[in-house]
Amino acid sequence: MLQRLFAIVRKELITMLRDPRARASLIVPPILQLFIFASAATMEVKNISLAVVDLDDGPYAADLEQRLAGAPSFTALPRYPSVQAARKALEREQVLGMLVLPSGLSAQLAREHSGVVQLLMDGRRSNAAQITAQYVTAAITPAGSASAAPLDTAAAAGPVPRAELVIDNWFNPNLEYRWFMLPNLVGTLSLGVALMLTALSVARERELGTFDQTLVSPATPVEIALGKLLPSLLVALLQTTLYLLLVTQLYGVPLRGSLVIFYGAVLAFAAACAGVGLFISSLVHTQQQAFLGAFAVLLPFALLSGFATPVENMPWWLQLFTGVNPLAHMLRLMQGVFLKGSAFAAQAHELMQLVIIALCTTLASVVLFRRKAR
């Protein structure tokens, strides 16, 4: 039994690693992807250029400009004489939005102690626009000490209630987006590899006829399935170790949980993905079908995992799907192990779910291999 299993595993590994190009393809694209995606996949908005239209002509425009220029995200604050002119620039995507100081703002502030500036953002890029609006709002009206953002502290008169809102960010004190994205990428990038690799390797053997050759041998379906799973696990281990080094050493993301949990999560996740891949491959006949099938599950897995947008934002009926989505579990595990330093007990539930997915899909494919009949 073990002799046969090892024979299959060894054969798979040789196939994967025999020629230098295949070896390189296991290492180079994942690392490139990590680099590119880590740079591209950010919800932070940088290099913002925001038009400033000062119709008030009072002292505030310069003050506000200064506040914005102090924030790191704004690279250009071009002034425009009129809303029309600024709008033209906005239309052409030269600026992301405009800050309008209405005429009479100074007078109103002096009279009523309050005034309103207008922020007009480009709704075509509504995400970047929303985030920028937050930046602007935070820069102009910071929540915090004393009352709401006095423009001129000297003007504050009388016994106002004094209180402070002290906000602490747990797990990620500076709210660095990369700390969120990189642990997610560790999961997402290994998803594709483990799933595609397994799905395609069985389909390839079917097409080449080598699968029949193994099926007529004494090898049992369980051995064949395990023989296909284990190499994918090894590849996933190798890749995630690389990722781990890059993420912690190069990008400086902390690893607060234990390595045991990290590798436990990787193994359970890779097994679940490979199991799904195996299951797909037990349903298809050709590599092309396997490819389409794998693609068809990869897409919802990735999109509905919380990788791009939080699971809580989805409608409830789509949230149900996350139970069977290995990536959703993996992302929670990775957040836990990298940023939160969660203990095993807190993670056991997610780990179990991954193991269950792995077991169900592998068993289902064993049954389907056994049926064999096409």
Partner: protein, 380 residues
């Protein structure tokens, strides 16, 4: 007549190869999956599954102070449309909930809050712990909490009849997308991805498939010219992609109520222009690869993934590092994404559309020229 006969023959040959491709598309289930099922799944997933609009955030509230001020602050939080408040009595429990991602933030109103609020020395504090592991959500939570806090303070101040320091408020308006509905820009963006899948992935298979099935040599052994092969192979997929685009537009308008502020004609023109580089890229992959598998993988890596990640669809291009921004200029999806968002949400703004269309044509010409060079009607 001297000119007429060869010309007619030319059209006859072109028509034949187009008709053949068309029939194959209609009969091949996998092209239906890519042309119809995939786009609809995509739209559906992006329409429902992906939402950048944070709706209601769960926060834990630990109130250790029984004063009226504490009660009012808690009430303000509870009534806010942004929060759903879970009440906790002990800090450690609330902190555990934060750790387990059951809540996104913990708000602690400490004992003595009410007394210190009115003390001359000040020193009243409300402590907030935000889950920073999702920085985006964390930022929203911070923003919303600050707003509630500011309102609370202002209300307390006016209650006491004290005048306030001048406060500057920011009134935010979103042009083209007044309610900042992320779906409105995600759906046009996902059409870019769909068109890339159709234009590039599907065509990346067409020549590789004939090579695999052994029909390519029979085709090459006929008097067909390169131009006819290229045209004959791209036009049917052009039509298919346009039909698919129409389906997407209908779905976007009907199901997701995305506005179309530009004209249909412009939309069609933009889509047609985008298909030049998309088809060119697919054909280039197809003549370079000898198997459908390799072609499909290359199509995914160079077509689909960049369209997802680097087109400005999910992630803003301006926020990327400079070298990556340069790279995006080679990606046709980048131009398509801007154009579609403009046509859908803003209108026919030619100042935006024309340069983008020009770039698409440029990239497309490059791809077709390379394909032309590689397609020498030989199989060695």
């Amino acid at each position: 007549m001297i000119l007429g006969a060869p010309l007619r023959a030319w059209w006859q040959q072109l028509g034949a190869i187009m008709l053949k491709e068309g029939k194959q598309v209609v009969r091949d289930p996998s092209s239906w999956i890519i042309a119809v099922i995939l786009p609809l799944t995509f739209l559906f997933l992006f329409g429902y599954g992906i939402s950048l609009d944070t709706t209601v955030v769960k926060v834990a509230l630990v109130r250790e102070d029984a004063s009226r001020d504490a009660e009012q602050l808690a009430g303000a939080l509870g009534h806010s449309r942004w929060f759903r408040v879970d009440w906790y009595t002990e800090r450690p429990r609330a902190e555990r909930a934060l750790r387990d991602a059951a809540v996104k933030a913990v708000v602690i109103i400490p004992a003595e809050f009410g007394r210190l609020l009115h003390a001359t020395g000040g020193g009243a504090q409300v402590q907030v712990l935000v889950d920073g592991s999702e920085p985006n959500t964390a930022n929203y939570v911070r923003g919303y909490l600050s707003a509630v806090w500011n309102e609370f303070l202002a209300a307390r101040a006016s209650e006491l009849g004290v005048s306030q320091a001048p406060v500057l408020d920011v009134a935010v308006r979103y042009w083209y997308n007044a309610n900042a509905i992320s779906r409105w820009f995600l759906i046009p963006g996902s059409m870019t991805v769909i068109m890339t899948l159709l234009g590039t992935l599907l065509t990346s298979l067409v020549i590789a498939r004939e090579y695999e099935r052994g029909t390519l040599e029979a085709l090459y052994a006929t008097p067909l010219t390169r131009g006819q092969i290229l045209l004959g192979k791209s036009l049917p997929y052009f039509l298919l992609a346009m039909i698919s685009m129409a389906v997407c537009v209908l779905t976007a308008r009907g199901l997701f109520q995305v506005p179309l502020r530009g004209s249909l004609l412009t939309l069609g023109l933009v889509s047609a222009t985008f298909l030049v580089p998309a088809l060119g890229q697919g054909l280039l992959i197809s003549v370079s690869m000898r198997s459908q598998m390799a072609a499909a993988q290359l199509g995914l890596m160079t077509g689909y993934l960049p369209a997802m990640m680097l087109s400005g669809f999910l992630f803003d291009i301006h926020s990327m590092p400079g070298w990556l921004q340069l790279l995006t200029y080679l990606i046709p999806a980048r131009y398509m994404n801007v154009s579609l968002q403009t046509v859908f949400l803003a209108g026919d703004i030619w100042a935006v559309l024309l340069p983008n269309m020009l770039f698409m044509l440029l990239v497309g010409t490059l791809f077709f020229a390379l394909t032309w060079r590689r397609l020498h009607k030989r199989i060695d």
